[in-house]
């Protein structure tokens, strides 16, 4: 497997002249832009990792009187805070990334769906948007962006739940197909992209796909902003090249006593020390929306899992059976095993249940609960039982 050494990169926060890039992009055709994005190998940075260029191509190919670009700034994955930092430090790059997408797919209207927890960012964002929207007008480019706020619902980070919420409804994920690129906001073709993805799209327009491809591996092109927290002396935001091993990562960020690392937040995977060496951070190994949470030997992995399951039990939208009831059963199940009300073998039943949730839930939320559950139960079984 292709590996990279840990390397800090600066594409996201590096200052650039956004309007100059937009001016260049406006000279290009949509197809041309999309070709570059496809060529770059950029995959969605929200966690799911869908190829961005392909998404844009689908949206472009739809015939419609109105198309939208929505920036998903509903960052809610426990352990993830990189989008907040991007929104705070380089919002103009997000706007510009949206403009690139708008030009590519022929959207005229953009929205940024900001989680309610980040409302303190709103005044500054609105102020900067006024300037940006005017700049688009000055360029006779028919495109403007508006802010939309969430109100405390993790599941709204799921793109179709986000659309439901924007339409004034409960944030319950939709059935797919149709996908948002065909029928999105108000039934119109909509490209929904993560904050970071859009900034990378802008960066690719700036430096070109070739340069971008110099970073990362075959499957995981470019770099990624990581949110690093937990038992680490260096918590914070770091942009790193994709493809490093967890061992490398822990050597850099651990506190010398790291026993496990949760990659990808509550819905991600727990990697125990014994697998640090052979696990790559990237789409060929463990993909992540950026959350890296380190746990040292003082931590009970039972508590970690309980915390995650409590989170999912509350944040499941509740509409589909496997997720709504499954999350409750997993949580009550480990409690029962811990208290001795159920035999340790009950964990096997719960693992099977989590497998059902993984394949039968309606959206990514329910589908991913099995990730932390299995990886923690398999690797820290003793801690769960005793």
């Amino acid at each position: 497997m292709e590996k990279k050494l840990l390397k800090k990169v600066d594409l996201i926060f590096e200052k650039c002249n956004c309007l100059n890039i937009i001016d260049k992009v406006l000279q290009r055709s949509g197809d041309d832009i999309i070709l570059d994005i496809i060529d770059s190998g950029l995959k969605g940075r929200g966690g799911a990792g869908f190829p961005t260029g392909l998404k844009w191509k689908f949206a472009k190919n739809e015939e419609a009187d109105q198309k939208y670009i929505v920036c998903n700034a509903d960052e809610g994955e426990p352990g993830t805070f990189k989008d907040r930092e991007i929104l705070d430090r380089v919002p103009e790059k997000i706007f510009a990334g949206m403009a690139v997408c708008a030009k590519a797919i022929e959207a005229t209207k953009g929205y940024i769906y900001l989680r309610g927890e980040y409302n303190f960012l709103l005044p500054a964002l609105n102020e900067k948007l006024t300037v940006f929207n005017q700049a688009m007008k000055d360029r006779k480019f028919e495109f403007s962006i508006e802010m939309r706020s969430g109100s405390g619902a993790y599941v709204c980070g799921e793109e179709t739940a986000l659309l439901e919420s924007m339409e004034g409804k409960r944030g319950e994920p939709r059935n797919k197909p149709p996908f948002p690129v065909a029928q999105g906001y108000l039934g119109k073709p909509t490209s929904i992209n993560n904050v970071e993805t859009l900034v990378f799209a802008l960066a690719i327009m700036n430096i070109g796909p070739e340069k971008f491809k110099e970073f990362g591996t075959m499957d995981s092109r470019g770099s990624k902003v990581f949110s690093i927290s937990g038992d680490t002396p260096k918590g914070g935001i770091y942009e790193l090249e994709l493809g490093m091993t967890i061992e490398d990562f822990v050597n850099e960020f651990g506190d010398g006593d790291t026993k496990a690392i949760q990659v990808g937040g509550a819905s991600g995977f727990c990697v125990p020390r014994k697998h640090f060496k052979d696990t790559i951070i990237g789409f060929e190994g463990i993909p992540t929306g950026g959350s890296m949470m380190l746990f040292n030997s003082s931590r009970s992995m039972y508590n970690v899992l309980q915390d995650y399951l409590e989170f999912f039990e509350e944040e499941s939208c509740g509409q589909c059976t496997p997720c709504r009831v499954g999350c409750q059963q997993l949580l009550k199940g480990i409690l029962a095993v811990k208290r001795g009300e159920k035999p340790p073998a009950y964990l096997e039943e719960l693992k099977k249940l989590s497998q059902t949730m993984k394949i039968a839930s309606k959206c990514g939320l329910g589908q991913s609960v099995a990730n932390p559950f299995n990886s923690i139960v398999n690797n820290f079984r003793e801690e769960i039982i005793y």
Binding site: F81, S151, K169, G235, E315
Partner: protein, 155 residues
């Protein structure tokens, strides 16, 4: 028209009367009143031509759109893993003792409500709390008390 009806009408005029305006309007009401009263939800249903159950059903989905009365200042302490590890329980206990209320309750003078929240997005700077829209990262029990007292001394 009552005060809240007038307010809702203004918001409906500002955001439009279609369903997609529901969230922004509810958010404006909560911003102003800290919760959605029965009267406010009825007013919204009227303006947007929805049933009250639809308004309530939507509002009750979102943690920040409370439908029970809340204090003037809403304290939300992050309870998710990183903040948990960094001692959010002590923070909550300190605030409970200062305000003489339990988690989930509102002070008798209606000045504060104390709640927990799922991940607020400051995992590297936990424990963290939100008072209304303002963030307080890297707090300690004593710092939390100080901050809360600042709020209670306001006006």
């Amino acid at each position: 028209m009552t005060k809240i009806e007038t307010f809702v009408k203004e918001q409906a005029n500002k955001y439009g009367k279609s369903r997609k305006s529901l969230m922004p309007i509810l958010q404006e009401i909560v911003q102003k009143e800290r919760f959605l009263s029965e009267e406010a939800m009825i007013a919204v249903a009227k303006e947007l031509d929805l049933s009250t159950a639809e308004v309530y059903g939507t509002a009750s989905f979102y943690t920040f759109l409370d439908t029970v009365p809340k204090g003037e200042n809403i304290i939300r302490v992050c309870k998710t893993i990183a903040c948990h590890m960094k001692g959010k329980d002590e923070i909550i206990e300190a605030i409970e003792n200062t305000l003489n209320i339990k988690l989930g309750e509102t002070t008798s003078d209606k000045k504060f409500s104390l709640l927990q929240a799922n991940c607020l997005g400051w995992c590297h700077k936990g424990p963290v709390m939100l008072i209304n829209d303002k963030v307080y990262p890297e707090i300690t029990a004593s710092k939390a008390i100080e901050i809360v007292e600042e709020y209670s001394n306001k006006n």
